[in-house]
């Protein structure tokens, strides 16, 4: 068998193995998973937030992303040095007075900004519980909870 024949056989075997795996185990999971047992102490899964809870959503992403597809009613607080950190602080202070929970989100589970922003909000000592959303905006988007989105099937 020449080299092209060998390549064809190898490709057929690889495709058959991949197809078999897909058939038996299903397609790869692309939806963000959140296991409460593995959360950090200040994190929440989206489905742990009880319906009807007064929540102040804080978007820790850049302003342009918040404006494009933030959670309806959310406020912005990021660590962009071009922004006015004291204005963020004042806005959150005004809004946090009437809620029991503040939940901060950034882009996805790799983004550490939300934890730093949560720390700054906690340092205000306003009394409300301050948490970081596991999975961040991606989790909200998959659940259809952000502007211009619908839940993933």
């Amino acid at each position: 068998m020449n080299v092209w024949g060998q390549l064809a056989v190898i490709s057929i075997i690889a495709l058959a193995a991949a197809g078999g795996t897909w058939w038996i185990k299903g397609p790869p999971a692309r939806v963000l998973a959140c296991d409460p047992a593995t959360l950090k102490p200040d994190e929440l899964c989206l489905d742990q937030i009880a319906a009807g809870t007064d929540v102040l959503w804080v978007d820790a992403r850049p302003r342009s992303e918040w404006e494009k597809n933030g959670v309806e009613g959310s406020v912005l607080w990021n660590l962009d040095p071009a922004e006015d950190a004291q204005a963020f602080e004042a806005e959150v202070a005004v809004r946090v007075a009437v809620v029991s929970q503040v939940i901060v989100y950034c882009g996805d589970e790799n983004c550490g900004v939300s934890r730093q922003v949560a720390g700054r909000i906690r340092a205000l000592g306003m009394g409300a519980g301050v948490f970081v959303l596991h999975g961040g905006w991606r989790a909200l988007s998959e659940a259809g909870r952000v502007r211009n989105s619908s839940p993933d099937p």
């Binding site: 962009d80 589970e109 790799n110 340092a123 306003m126 009394g127």
Partner: protein
């Protein structure tokens, strides 16, 4: 902390760089060296700082590293109006990394002195409770004196009064609520003569509200 990382053959002796910046620093730079310890070439597909305040470069713009080759990731962080401790993350995607899972994550931890410290930041009064005055301690953490030049309150429901404990070093802002029968919030603006602009004006808060369930539970 000296965390190291080896990802797809690239070895980073340090993935966390802690930098103590002077209070008036405008920018700081952190370098992360790496070496390809594998026997195959490794390609950096993408790198990103996820913050407009940080510029990331790879030395010489070189993205492909053969076995044994070394390189350097440089992160330039614009300090803006930050103070306290700030973590900034640089992500590197290597060949085959999924879009949402970079295999290299580098952290620049910057400690920026807090020249004007307020403690606590927020005073709380219980709705329909007492109108006792409460205090915010103002401590100047600089070798040169920093004086409070003006104070103001956003709300007539709170009366602020400044007490000098030690000129240029320690002050107390004494706040007395005039109204505790309806929820309210006051923002207190504290102006100083601090030469570093980002520390010059501070703000603190006073709030009249019902205690949260957690605060109720914490009562003796």
């Amino acid at each position: 902390m000296m965390a190291s990382l080896q990802a797809a053959g690239l070895d980073f002796p340090h993935t966390l760089k802690e930098i103590h910046a002077p209070a008036d620093a405008k920018t700081i730079t952190a370098d992360f060296e790496f070496t390809n310890l594998s026997d195959k070439a490794v390609r950096v597909v993408k790198y990103d700082a996820a913050c407009s305040c940080m510029a990331v470069k790879i030395k010489g713009g070189k993205l492909r590293y053969g076995p044994g080759e070394s390189g350097l990731v440089r992160a330039d962080f614009e300090m803006g109006n930050f103070s306290g401790t700030v973590d900034k993350v640089v992500s590197l995607w290597l060949d085959g990394d999924p879009a949402d899972k970079p295999s290299v994550t580098l952290t620049v931890r910057v400690h920026i002195p807090v020249l004007v410290m307020l403690e606590p930041k927020t005073l709380k009064w219980e709705l329909h409770g007492g109108k006792d005055a409460q205090r915010i301690r103002i401590t100047m953490n600089d070798v040169k004196p920093i004086r409070v030049t003006a104070i103001s309150s956003s709300s007539p429901a709170f009366h602020p009064e400044l007490k000098t404990i030690e000129e240029g070093k320690h002050y107390e802002l004494v706040i007395t609520p005039t109204e505790v029968d309806s929820p309210g919030l006051g923002i207190f603006r504290i102006e100083t003569d601090c030469v570093v602009e980002r520390h010059r004006i501070q703000q603190a808060f006073g709030v009249v509200r019902k205690p949260t369930p957690a605060e109720d539970a914490a009562k003796p």
